[in-house]
């Protein structure tokens, strides 16, 4: 039935000129043609389409058959493919590029990952051919196409392990490879334009903005937009494997090709990577700077260059390591501000790679006047204390220590003060105090004396350490890390620094420390101990009574209510707290022993 109608309308139109086809003619052709294809009559449709007499009709209306054709081709049922493929190819050669483009782009939109990957694999090459037919008008169409393609790529699941990349179950790797093949001719054209533009410049003395290359600029802009987008997704999400881990990696190739694309369109990788610090002039064009070079994309680029060493051969080896650090700090700040595991990991990697190039003790204190040198550690603290992934927390701490090691003594001094003031976390503060102890220990060694960790300069810092945040009411359990490290430091000082030498000034300070730190701490320990002993007593009494305790509140995770803490666990916790107070007290007593009688020398 449909086939007859199709033949009829085609025959009727053969006699007409193509501007007299009616809307009804179009509709009948479309509907019937599609039906024929879907019902399996594609051989007949093929012969209609190939018929010389029908070429005008095919040119005007043929593209309407695309949806059905592509559906068939995607289903990959062998019996139907061959004629459909032939129809498809003929249409691509015959129909108008603009209309083909619309038809093809529509078919890119699929829902499930398998079909998405298949449709991209099927359609990228035809799309490329169609776009190349658009001549100098191709730029905006290319842009539209790339945008749609990347929207589809974003729906594909990403491989997380090396094995997953090798298996490529969801075809992301194949898609990326197809994508690179797709953009190749356009990149080549942009590269040629750049070369020719350069020549024109020389011969006519025109400025870059005056080149007859508005269309060429559009092409470059679309390719730039595309590259920047891919840097964010999928590249920033993916874990690239280095050659010794995975010799052949389509994803690593993809990343490398994106960098090559940037170079081909005239972007300088150093300028992009160092952009946060360089003052870039406003580039003329129809995109704002921020939009043109999204910060996240630049951070991703920096990671590819400095961590994976992609395009290393073309990146100049003349920039100072401190300058690279300064620029990368901005990227690191951005990455560590996010919560996604992929971004945090890359932020830490980039930070680490930048620090490792520097010698210990080489960074001067004036770097701390740069905002990112303060905000990055703040982000690190967040990672160390709040990131759900244990590995990232551990790595964050490792990187923090690495960054401390690179500062010179004055910078360390100022950094420690800053961290004590701003980290608001007992564990971090304890860690910083441990570092202070190490620095004092260094300074006290013969020949290594410095003005910051001994003598009068040290006292302001010590005063910030040897203090109880809330006086005697300080919650000792909450602040345990900090309190213990402070006590350890004090004990260390009174042992290591002879009262007769007093290199650190601690002995002259002791009477004050007694008032501001030791006395309130003793009071606090006693109060806390009394409180917890009472709690323990009550809990044991209640347990003896064997009555079910009514808790004041309950905690639910998901939909499950957590069981109440058993009496046994409660008692364990209380014992643990009491043990902690004993620990604090033992150090207090020891300090007292060590300082008794020596204060009055």
């Amino acid at each position: 039935m449909a086939l007859e109608q199709l033949s009829d309308v085609v025959q009727r139109c053969q006699a007409l000129s193509d501007d007299s086809y009616t809307t009804e003619d179009h509709d009948v052709f479309s509907v019937c043609g599609r039906t024929c294809i879907e019902e399996g009559d594609s051989v007949q449709v093929l012969s209609i389409v190939l018929d010389e007499k029908n070429q005008d009709i095919v040119r005007c209306m043929g593209w309407n058959l695309l949806p059905s054709l592509i559906q068939v081709l995607l289903k990959k049922q062998d019996s139907k493919i061959s004629p459909c493929l032939a129809i498809f190819r003929h249409l691509l050669q015959t129909c108008r590029p603009k209309e083909l483009l619309i038809g093809l782009l529509e078919q890119l939109e699929q829902d499930d990952p398998d079909t998405i990957a298949e449709s991209l694999h099927l359609l990228l090459n035809p799309l490329q051919k169609v776009l190349l037919c658009l001549g100098s008008r191709k730029a905006s169409s290319l842009g539209m196409t790339l945008s749609s393609v990347l929207d589809q790529v974003a729906k594909l699941p990403l491989p997380h392990t090396k094995e997953q990349e090798e298996d490529d179950v969801f075809s992301l790797c194949r898609t990326c490879t197809d994508l690179i093949d797709f953009v190749k001719p356009f990149v080549h054209e942009a590269r040629q334009n750049l070369l020719n533009g350069g020549e024109q410049n020389k011969s006519t003395n025109k400025t870059a903005g005056e080149q007859g290359g508005d269309k060429e600029d559009e092409l470059r802009t679309e390719l730039l937009k595309f590259s920047m987008k891919t840097l964010s997704h999928p590249l920033l999400e993916l874990q690239l494997r280095d050659p010794d881990t995975l010799a052949v990696s389509p994803l690593r190739n993809f990343a490398t090709e994106i960098l090559n694309t940037l170079r081909a369109i005239g972007e300088s990788l150093p300028s992009l990577v160092f952009q946060p610090v360089l003052k870039r002039k406003q580039v003329e064009g129809f995109l704002e700077e921020e939009v043109r070079y999204p910060k996240e994309s630049l951070a991703s680029l920096a990671h590819l260059v400095f961590v994976h060493h992609l395009a290393a051969d073309t990146f100049p080896s003349v920039f100072s390591s401190v300058f690279c650090l300064r620029c990368n700090m901005e990227h690191v700040f951005l990455l560590l501000s996010r919560t996604e595991e992929s971004r945090i990991q890359k932020g830490l990697e980039l930070y680490e790679k930048s620090l490792v190039r520097l010698e210990d003790g080489s960074l001067p204190s004036d770097l701390l006047e740069i905002k990112s040198f303060l905000t990055v550690p703040q982000n690190l603290v967040k990672v160390m204390t709040m990131c759900p992934q244990h590995d990232l927390r551990t790595r964050g701490l490792k990187v923090l220590q690495l960054s401390i090691d690179k500062f010179d003594t004055e910078a360390k001094y100022n950094f420690f003060q800053y961290m004590l003031k701003t980290s608001h976390h007992s564990g971090v503060e304890g860690y910083v105090i441990k570092n202070i102890k190490i620095q004092i220990d260094n300074a006290l060694q013969p020949g290594k004396s410095n003005a910051w960790f001994e003598g009068p300069q040290l006292l302001p810092l010590l005063r910030k350490v040897l203090i109880l945040p809330d006086g005697p009411e300080t919650d000792l359990l909450q602040y345990l890390d900090r309190v213990m490290e402070s006590l350890n430091l004090l004990r260390y000082l009174v042992i290591r620094d002879k009262a007769t030498e007093n290199q650190t000034g601690i002995w002259t300070e002791l009477y004050k420390i007694e008032d501001t730190f030791l006395k309130p701490l003793r009071v606090g320990v006693n109060m806390s101990r009394a409180h917890y002993e009472r709690e323990l007593h009550n809990t044991m009494e209640t347990k003896k009574g064997k009555t079910k305790e009514e808790s004041v509140l309950s905690v639910s995770v998901g939909k499950e209510k957590l069981p109440n803490m058993t009496s046994k666990s409660q008692i364990q916790a209380l014992h643990s707290a009491l043990h902690t107070f004993d620990m604090i007290e033992s150090v207090l007593v020891r300090i007292q022993e060590l300082t008794e009688g020596k204060e009055n020398l």
Binding site: L194, G198, S317, V318, S321, L459, Y511, N600
Partner: protein, 221 residues
């Protein structure tokens, strides 16, 4: 709370007035033993030589005597004293750093291969553009921006950056400031002014590498 035993008078009045006792000895004694605020009031802070230039012997004798009368020795003053010291230490430390930086010979050596125009020398902060090739002492070329073919030369641009701001290795910053537009030079840079003890990890530049560059300065701002 006393820090140390009180200091004793080292000189009698006669000894003080005598020409045999140089000013700087008195100044040193007072600096070693007096509280910071006392020194400040008496204008006896700072480098002994400088103080000796400005202070008269009579003033010093008076100060010396006043010190023992008022007993304003080190360790007798409250917190402010320490803070003052802290401030003073900070300033001195900075000054010392600046001196250290100027000392020592330059850690690079430049030989001119082709003379420049000898009039356009870059200043700190100027944009400069260079073609360059970098090699190690053993001749390995680790980096160059000079394209191999004529065709590629059209699309390659020279390296452009702001000179003298620490954006490049120190050897480059220093050497280029001595070059004029059009000059080509061979610059040998000691590791301290290149990539030092660390080198460039994961690259051809090993630790403690001396780098040899051939640089052509093509443009200045």
């Amino acid at each position: 709370l006393k820090m140390a035993d009180e200091p004793t008078r080292e000189w009698s009045d006669e000894q003080l007035k005598s020409d045999d006792l140089p000013k700087k000895d008195i100044i040193k004694f007072i600096q070693d033993n007096a509280a910071h605020s006392f020194l400040n009031e008496q204008k006896l802070l700072g480098n002994i030589k400088n103080v000796a230039k400005t202070a008269k012997k009579e003033q010093l004798i008076i100060a010396y005597n006043q010190l023992f009368e008022s007993k304003r020795f080190k360790g007798t003053e409250p917190i402010e004293e320490v803070t003052e010291q802290v401030r003073t230490v900070k300033i001195e430390e900075k000054a010392k750093d600046v001196e250290v930086v100027d000392e020592g010979p330059p850690k690079y050596f430049k030989s001119v291969l082709k003379k420049g125009d000898k009039s356009n020398f870059p200043k700190k902060g100027d944009n400069v553009s260079c073609w360059y090739t970098g090699s190690l002492e053993d001749g390995t070329v680790f980096d160059t921006n000079i394209p191999t073919t004529a065709r590629k030369k059209k699309q390659t641009k020279p390296l452009t950056f702001k000179v003298g701001l620490g954006r490049v290795i120190r050897g480059w910053d220093e050497a280029i400031l001595t070059m004029s537009k059009g000059e080509t030079a061979r610059v040998e840079i000691e590791p301290e002014w290149a990539y030092g003890r660390k080198g460039l990890p994961d690259s051809k530049i090993p630790p403690n590498a001396k780098l040899i560059f051939e640089v052509e300065l093509v443009a200045v701002d």
